[in-house]
Structure formats: C-alpha cells, structure tokens
Symmetry: D2
Subunit: 371 residues, 4 copies
Amino acid sequence: MTARKTRDAAGRARRPGGASRPPAAGDDARIPVTILGATGAVGQRFVALLDRHPWFRVEALCASDRSAGRPYAEAARWYLDKPMPDWARGMTVRDCRPGGASRVAFSGLDAEVAGGIEEEFARQGMAVVSNARNHRLEDDVPLLVPEVNHEHLSLVAAQKRRFPGGGFIVTNPNCSTVGLVMALAPLHAKFEVTEVVTATLQAVSGAGYPGVASLDILGNVIPYIGGEEEKMEAESRKILGRPGAPAAFGVSAHCHRVPVADGHTVAISLRTRVRATPEQAIETLRAWRTPLTDFGLPSLPERPIEVRDEKDRPQPRHDALAGGGMSVSVGRVRRCPILGLKMVALVHNTIRGAAGVALLNAELLKAKGLL
Amino acid sequence: MTARKTRDAAGRARRPGGASRPPAAGDDARIPVTILGATGAVGQRFVALLDRHPWFRVEALCASDRSAGRPYAEAARWYLDKPMPDWARGMTVRDCRPGGASRVAFSGLDAEVAGGIEEEFARQGMAVVSNARNHRLEDDVPLLVPEVNHEHLSLVAAQKRRFPGGGFIVTNPNCSTVGLVMALAPLHAKFEVTEVVTATLQAVSGAGYPGVASLDILGNVIPYIGGEEEKMEAESRKILGRPGAPAAFGVSAHCHRVPVADGHTVAISLRTRVRATPEQAIETLRAWRTPLTDFGLPSLPERPIEVRDEKDRPQPRHDALAGGGMSVSVGRVRRCPILGLKMVALVHNTIRGAAGVALLNAELLKAKGLL
Amino acid sequence: MTARKTRDAAGRARRPGGASRPPAAGDDARIPVTILGATGAVGQRFVALLDRHPWFRVEALCASDRSAGRPYAEAARWYLDKPMPDWARGMTVRDCRPGGASRVAFSGLDAEVAGGIEEEFARQGMAVVSNARNHRLEDDVPLLVPEVNHEHLSLVAAQKRRFPGGGFIVTNPNCSTVGLVMALAPLHAKFEVTEVVTATLQAVSGAGYPGVASLDILGNVIPYIGGEEEKMEAESRKILGRPGAPAAFGVSAHCHRVPVADGHTVAISLRTRVRATPEQAIETLRAWRTPLTDFGLPSLPERPIEVRDEKDRPQPRHDALAGGGMSVSVGRVRRCPILGLKMVALVHNTIRGAAGVALLNAELLKAKGLL
Amino acid sequence: MTARKTRDAAGRARRPGGASRPPAAGDDARIPVTILGATGAVGQRFVALLDRHPWFRVEALCASDRSAGRPYAEAARWYLDKPMPDWARGMTVRDCRPGGASRVAFSGLDAEVAGGIEEEFARQGMAVVSNARNHRLEDDVPLLVPEVNHEHLSLVAAQKRRFPGGGFIVTNPNCSTVGLVMALAPLHAKFEVTEVVTATLQAVSGAGYPGVASLDILGNVIPYIGGEEEKMEAESRKILGRPGAPAAFGVSAHCHRVPVADGHTVAISLRTRVRATPEQAIETLRAWRTPLTDFGLPSLPERPIEVRDEKDRPQPRHDALAGGGMSVSVGRVRRCPILGLKMVALVHNTIRGAAGVALLNAELLKAKGLL
C-alpha cells in the first residue's frame, strides 16, 4: 500500500523509514547478537522478531554444517507468513562456533546438540538465551517467564563457577508450560496453587519443521507428545517456586497434538490452598500487573494476560496473536467440581512460547545491565 | 468388485445376495420401525445402520413438515460416506405423527421438538428409543449403555403410569458421555471411581448437520460446547449408579470442538476408592466382559472396550471405526500424579455415541421380550 | 506491546495516537458512509477496513430486521482475526433504509435482497459501492477492478436516467474473477487474450458466514460452486473489454471449494493472439503499472500484481496477505502445450476479492470528484 | 461384532472363517509373492490389499537395509486405518535381493532406488509389477491401466532381450494419470481426444510417508508437485496409444496439493476430433465396458468408471472408496466453451492410483498365463 507502515511477525508496526536493511556496523549502536539454529522453526522466528529490533542487531546466523557456507535465503526453508527480512537473505550461514562481536547468542537449537554448543558459547563469555530444554532444570540456570519470575535471574551468579569468563545461560520453558504458568502465576501468588490437572491441544508448529507429517494429523488428534507431560510438570514447579526451591504443587498433564498451525490451547483445573471463587480468580487475573513494566522492554505486551469474557474464547484463530503473539489469553474461568477452579488458556507457541519469550529474556538481561 | 460382499456404515459385511431393497411386508418377518428426525445427522446414521438389519425393517421415515411429503432422497442432504440405501431413496418422508405398524420409534430428533413428539409416540404404545437429551434424566427413563447398565431397563415398568398403553421411552447418553462411561465402567465396578476430571476433543459431526461452520473450525479449536460439560457430569453418574440411585462420584469436564470429522477423544484423570496401579487398571479393562454376550445382539461388538498398547493411540483416524464404530478404544493408561490414574478414550460419536448405541438398546429390548 | 502501533485487518499500520474511536461528527471532516449488510462476512470486512480510514468514517451499520435495533457487538457474530473496532461495538444496527448524512453506501448484502435495496439508496442520491452480483452485468453499471478498468466509471453518467437525484451504483466482480482478471489484464493489454481455461481452488470465506458446513469440507474438495463458473466467464469479459463492449475472448472455468480459510488459488491456461513466451509474459506482468498511482488512493497496494519466482508459490498461507491482502500474486508462468501460456494466481477473496476492492472503488470515486 | 465378516482395505468382505493368518506353505496353493519397499506408503497398501488374496500369498517383505532384519510390525510405521494383518506383523523384513520362491515382485520402491533393484529381480526371472516411475516410459515396458490397455502387455515379449531368464517388468502410471486416463479412455475410443487441459487437487498420501509436512499444507494449497505435470502429459499418451505408438493428443496439466488425506480430484477440459455433446459423453462413459470382465480378476471393480449425476460430485470424502477404492468416479460432464467438453474425475490415489492398479496388473498376468 502507498505510504503504509510495515509490521513484523509479531504484528508490531515499525517506522516507515526503517526499511529492512542489513545491520551495518558503522551506523548502529545496537548490541550484536548471534542466532544458533537459525534455519529451524524457532530460529526463523528469532530472525523475524529481531528484524529492526531497537536494541539488538543480528550479526551471525549459525546452523548445522549442512547449512554453513550457504546464503540464509537458500539454507532456510522459510515457513513464516511474513517474508524473510532482506538483510537476512544474503547473510552467509556459519557453523555453530563462537566468534565475532556478538554478546548474546539466541539458541533455537535442537536438544540433541544444544547442550554442548550452548556451554561452549557461555564459556567464551557470551550470554546464551536458550529455548532448548537441555539446561532448563539445572540448579544454577534460570528458567524464565520474565513477567512471572524475573528474580530467578539471580541464579546466573552461580554460573561463574562453570563459566569464569562471565558467560552464562538463561532459558525459557517449553511452549505449553509458558501458557500454563502465565495463567497460574497470578492465582498462585494470591491463593497458592496446590494441584493442577491440565489437558493441552497443541499446534503442529510446536513440533518444528518438517515436524508432524500431514498424513498423521489432517482431520486427526494424536494423544501423545514425547516428553511434554513431564516437562509441564517439572518446569512449572521450578518457575513458580523461589530460586532453588521449586513450588510444591502437583501437576498432571494430558498432551494432544491437533490440526492447528499456531496456538496451544491449555485446559486447566486447579486447587488452591486459599479457596477462591471464579469471580475472585477473574478479578485477580485481570488486576495482575507484572513488575517489569518500568523496564521499557520492547517486546513486553501491554497485557501479558488477556482475560476474555466470551463463553467460547480464547480460540487459536482469534487469540493466538493477541498482544502481537506475546499475550496469553485466559477464558472460561469457572468452578471445577473436583479441584475448585477451571479455565482455558491460549498461548502462541512459537512467539510467546518460544522465540518471543527468549527475546524478552534478552531484553531483561539488557535492562538489568547483564549484557 | 466382482462377487464381493458389501458392507454397511458400521463396516459390517452383509450377505452378497441381500441386495439393498425396500422392506416388503410380505416376505419380511422383521419388526417394523419408524425413524424420527430421519433427515438429520443421527437420523441418517439410523437409516444406514438399519440397512438390512436382521431384526428390524424401516417402515417409516419421519421428519419436519418442511420435509414431509418429499422422497427421502430429496429431503435428506446425505452426508455419510456410504451411499443412501436404495430402499430409502424413494420412501416418502412423513411428518412426526404416530401411525402405521411400527412397534419401535428411533428418535434422532432435535431437543427442541423431541420431548413432546416422543411422548406422543409412547402414549400410542410404541417403544421410543431416543438419542435426544430431553428425557434422559427423568427418574423412570432408563439412560442406557447396554453393556454397562442394561439392568436399568427395569425402570420402564414405572412408565406405565404415564403411558398406560404399554409404550415407553428408553434413552442413550450424549456422545462424549458414552466414551467416558464405557472407559470408567470396568474400573468403577472393581475399584469404585470417586473423582473424574476429563477433557474432550470432539468431532464436528457431533454437532449435527450443517452444525459447525467451516470458518469457525478449520485450523482452530473451540473450547466450548453448549450444555456438554453439564451433560457429561450428570449422565455419567446416572449410568454408573443403580436404578434410581446415581453414583456418588464427582465429574469435571472441559469440552472442546476440534477439526476432526468423526471420533471424540476423551482424556480422563480419575481417583478410585480402592487404589489401583496402571497395570491393574489395564488388566481390569482388558478382562472386562459385558453380561450381554449371550443375547446375540447383532450390533454388539466383540470387544466393547479395545485396550491399546501403543504410546500414541487411540486416534480418531485409526480407531474411530474399531468394532465397526461400536468399540470404545482406551490407551495410555498411566499414573496421574493428582488423582491416581489417567488414560485416553476414543468413541465414534455418531455410531457408538448416538445411532449405534440406540440400535443396541432396541436390540436389547427385543432380546428381553420388551417389544 | 508498549508504545506499539496497531494494525487493521489489511495489515496496515495506523498512527499510535489514532486510537480506535467512534467517528465524532465535530472533529471529523471525513465523508460519512453507510455499510449495508454490515453483520455479514463482507460487511465485517468493510467495518475492519474502514477502521480509521483517512477519507471515510462509518456513520451507519445496516442489516436485516433481525439485527436492527441491537448493538453491533451483539448482532454480528464476528469472525475476523482482529478484534471488532471499539467504535463499532456500541453502534446500533439500523435496517436497510436510506437516511442520515452518508454519501456512500458500501453494500455487502446478499444477492437475494441486494437488488432492490441498492436501487433505493441510489434513488436517494447516494453512491452505492456494491459487492453484490445483482447489478454487475447491467449496461450502465461499471464493473470495476480500478487498477484495470477505472475508465469504465464513465458508465455511471447513463445512470442519470434511472437515478435523477445523482445517485448511482458501481460494482466489483466476484472474488475469483478479481484474481483472474488482474493476472490477465497486463497480458491482454500487450498480447490480446483470446482463450482462457481456468480452475479455481476457493477458500471457504468466499461462501460467507456460516457458509460451508465443516462436515462438507474438512479433508474434502467440493467441485462445484453455484453460479461461479458463469460469473467468471461473463464478468471477466466485461472488465477487460471497453465500456459497453465486452472483450471477445472465451473463458472456461472449473470451480472447486477447498479447506482453506482465506485465499483463492486460480490456475490459468491462456491463448493470446500475439504469441508470447513465458519470459515475455513474466516481464510484462512485472513491468505493468496501473495508471492509478497518481491518485494517492489509500488502499492501493504498491504492487497490485506481485510476481513470484519460487517454483511452489503463490500459496494461500504465505501470499494471501501480500500488499495487505490487496495484491494478487502470480507465479509458475510457463508454457502451456495446449493454449500457449499457463500460470497460477492467488487473491485474498474477502479483501482484494470483495470489501477491499469495493473500498478502492469508493476511493477512486472520491479521487475523481464523484462523491 | 458377533458373527460378522471382516473387510480388507479395499472394503471387500472376506469369509468369516478366513481369519487373518500367516501364509503357510503346506495348505496354500497360492502364488508366492514378494513386496519391495514394503514399509513405505505404497508397500503398506500392498500388504493390506494382499491380505487373504485368493491368488497370491506374501512370501517376503523387503525394504531398505535400515529395516532389514526387524519384524515388520516394528519396521513399518503403519499409517493405514485398518490394522496391520497379523501374518505380516511377525515377518522379518529382508533386504531387496532376489531369492525364495516368489514368482512376482510388487514394487513400491522409491524412484531413487527402484530402477536397479527391479531390473535385478527381472534378471532373476521374476515378474516385476512396479508402481515406480523409473521404467514406465521405456519402449519394451507396458504402462498399464488394465481395463484400458491390457493389450500393451504384448510389449513384455521384447524384454526377453534384457531378461533372457523369462523375467520382465510391467508398470502402472502415476496416481493422477490413472484418474485422467480412465476418464478419457471411453471418450478417446469413441470420439478421439485431441487436446486436454487438466488441473488436479491431489491428496497428501500421494506424496508417501512422512511426505508433506503438516505446516506446509494445513489450511493451504501448494500449486506444485515435482515432475507430476510432465508425468501426466507423457504417461497418458503412452497408455491411450497403441503399443509403441503413443496417442497424438496434447496434455497440459496444473498440479496442486490440497489438505485431503486420500483421493485426487482431476478437473478436465478436452477437445475431441469427433464432436460430442455432454449427453453423448455421459452416455459413452456409462455404456463403457472393459474387455476384462471375463477374466474373473478378483480386484476388478464392477464399474471401473462410476458416473455421477449430482451437481457437486464426485468428492474425495464420498467417492474415493467407490468400488472399494478401485472405481474412478466422473461427474459434472458439461460443455467447455474452449475445448468442447469438461468434467471432473476422482481417483483413490493409493488404491486405484497405486497398489490397487498394480495388483490388478498382477492378476491380469496370472489370468493371461504369464506367471
């Protein structure tokens, strides 16, 4: 359109003048960053979300040896709706070895290789902001949903032992866990959650690319996602606990893959120590404010939790992109005859549930002077 | 194919000689039956399942005034995969008034009109076998899943007060409830179920035809189905209780519509009074036998409950048609950290969950000499 | 997100200050407009596209008697991904009778009622910008794809006979026709198209809401869309001809409905009088410029035709929103062994193929001083 | 169900006594056969269609080295709806080397490896019945749709030069080509087809397993299938020509992948030398009889071409399994303003379009005494 502003993958509008361009060193005071696993599903989201980011500029795109040496436009089978940024197209993909000026490495690596590579980058003094599961449950590694538990960042101090050069690793949880803990956090803070039974209906993009075969999922449901139920149970306790002291509540998860492209639906029944009515729960969710609002983080949504009143919302199609994909929508808060409360949450699994929450983690690091 | 046998909608093979033909009065000792709401989604299933049924022949197809007087082939927008039986094509649709020789009325009527019409047929002395929700929870009306609670049939005796002419109404539960109670029944019998939290992923055919708009469900999930959660909670207690004394367990349901054509997936967490390991639960489900096997009911599947061992089954695509659509498949039986046990069940919602279970009810009536 | 700009349904960014607000008469020099059929699928797109439009403000939302008198938020079952604009939520829906200050009526009415209502509005002196099919083929009614045949606007002069008060009707074609004619127009201008065989794969949103039943289209193809093939054949000749003299080429269309939400794919084989190689065709499509660029029309995309080089594009998921949904993407231009050339085009059916092209028509009227 | 007959993947009913069992050498006079590529999508269909086949029994299941040595139940990721036959579950997968007693090798191999392996089996004296594309267009290899061009079998005589031991290779066409040529054959025989423009809407099972990634096709259309358009053009000419003399008509194909599991829709416009009205075409299609009916081939459908009268048929959901998946359904026969006639055909791509047509080829070989 004539004289129209463009938008990035998160639905954020950018300055019309800010044409998509290669991050030139000369005129750019932004922090150089590296993307590990840049050709994968999460890596592509990193590229899209970092397009014209006000604080960070992409200096290196790293991937497996198979991709290294090729232009990104060739090496990545781009699956996002919005086009690949022009500056990325021509960048030569590197292999996953530290080097260059980057101070942050965003990791969208597969768990098979993420562990060692991330440690190597941390050893070289870099801040590794990882979406991989490998280090999430280690004692000295923060597992962050920044609005919820940013104070867990203090754990990185203990990583000095492993990484004396000042590097460290911070992680974000599994995509379905992000939806669960964001919906639980305000209620846990006020009423203390003691038991959770949850069932998920997860989008195929959560399995990466190529991921789920179309023959397996067209018109079908797969009632199993390897390791997912265990992750939801362990990770949510760590996030909603204090550093070093996981929360004590129990979690039981039933995970399903459904024929939806983006957006995990999470049905939640919960018991709280302090009894709460649905009305009190709704009020608590609505009144909840993250302590992060003063940091001016560019990717922080106005309302990290969006409470919906309609009887049939949230839905992936309508609500996955709420807050540019960074808000978790919660609806149908009502009485559960067994556990006391029930509700349904929706999280955009590759934005808020993966690359977007990792980017928010990096913004938090910068705001707290850790970069 | 040459010299091949055909099969009906339930995947049952019929004699090759038994060509699809109009039920002629002369050469046919089968019981004449009427289908109410014959043009709707459940009505069409009745037509398909009754095609060449050994005990019943369709004498009348009844529907709303809009359809009455037209040939069935014109009045019904046929949505099933297998073709409309030839004998049905030319039958003239009647309005929903008693008459004719039928001794059974299968009701696939909408709840808006089912109540009064069904009573009228019962008042005229007919056995009304209904899939509608209207009378399900009435004290003198059996709510049957025959393999599970056929002894509830005794309730019909009390209907003499309402229908002195010998007519009566029997009902079957809501489609998702059928899946839930069949998976619970063996465990309830042995270990006594005390609490259930369930989440469903329900197929669009459960909403009838035209039902859910494609724009609402393509690539989407709708976390709400009007009245469904309440039905699952009330109906499963009635079925698993004794006649007149509902079971005491609590049920909490989360119902979702998903882009699947046929087959409801039901994720279940449950607590039992007598503690059971997953292994004991699996053994109990596998060892369970319905007391009905001696009745020779034509629609009774060999294994009403099919236990699956694969980690990612049951799935709608692979398992909805188990036992010709009459078996409920159960898998992933495992420990629930909150309630003790969890598992996933799959039920073909328009066969076992609607027209098929109603047909089984009618066969039971015949076998027990109630027709 | 903090300090983020919002975007409208067409993906266009709006000024951050320009919060969604009711169109107040006092501070607003924009032209007041009415939307007819405002609660339907196309009507909702009008509401979304007119949200903070620089030239027009919505004064009235009209719909059937069933909706009249109710707030729009209640009367419309909103199906678009982006939320209903706040100013629209509280507007009281009116019935479809002229009145008020509006100078333009956008019509998203069903063809069953559109004919008479549109004439009544024209008779009252209003410019009726219609997406309905009723008047499209009338001799004195322009059938416009503005970039292609804006000079057909001259036809409205002849409407003085019918509507002496200065009102008139302009129309846009059927959604699939828009895709076809935009892809053909540059080639017709240079090489003269003489024969076209086309097959469409059309999205469900083209059938309105509720439109296609999910049971009919999930995992299925319907090889028939009522009246569509005839429309494509007649309308494309009118558009690519001169006012009053339809083009002489023949068109044969095969129309299919597919399980896609938005975006019609149009496969095209064509013969031209002047023989053209695929390379010449590509160059011609790429070099084509609309004469409208100087009018500053707010909804005119930068590149009305987007030529793609990838072997497997355009695709609905990736390309429907090109140019904010206003660009037609064309790819796979290659030799056709029968007709000479073949290619595939993609059009967003409810934006460029319906409400968006109608809005562009209205902008053209304003730019040419006809409002 | 009690006392019910079972059915195989093609919907054919089998004797109730004929329980699924391993093909024992002793009591079994059937011809032993080998399946090459037995773990793949087409290989699985071979296994399903050969279950209790009256003429053939599976002696060996061969696949890549990765699978060799493992039980079939482990090596194959079974994707079909009906369960894997019991006799196949425990068979040890072999590598693809000739040996054993088999006289026929059914090949569902990938084209990357099929060429050499098939030749090796033919060299060892076996009849290779292949679904792979490698040898289809070779002069001495029959490319068969048996009902249409069984006389092309005479070509195998010339293979004596390559395979002096009496082995030979016969092939069937690409899945979409089968649908096209079966719909064209009766018209070509009577009116002589001279030009064809066709557009396909192809199911994902045609791409094998895992095949198309769900992220690529959910709610989407891919307007490109590698090599498919060329195959349709070349193969249909060979099939509808005389042995050694391809038919002279031109074919232009537009191929699309759509989110459908099974069933290719093929829209066809055609010109004939002898002009035919739609009514004449319908009559010709309906009157057409294959010369094969006297051979008693077990997989020959009663009506290889099923003509439909409804305005919106055939559809994958309703018609793919016509004739047990072996009939091609044709509908919407009407005038094409450009080429004279148009229509739409539907073919089950993995049954009639792949394993089923290959099986029919093998049955033909047996009936003609060539095994």
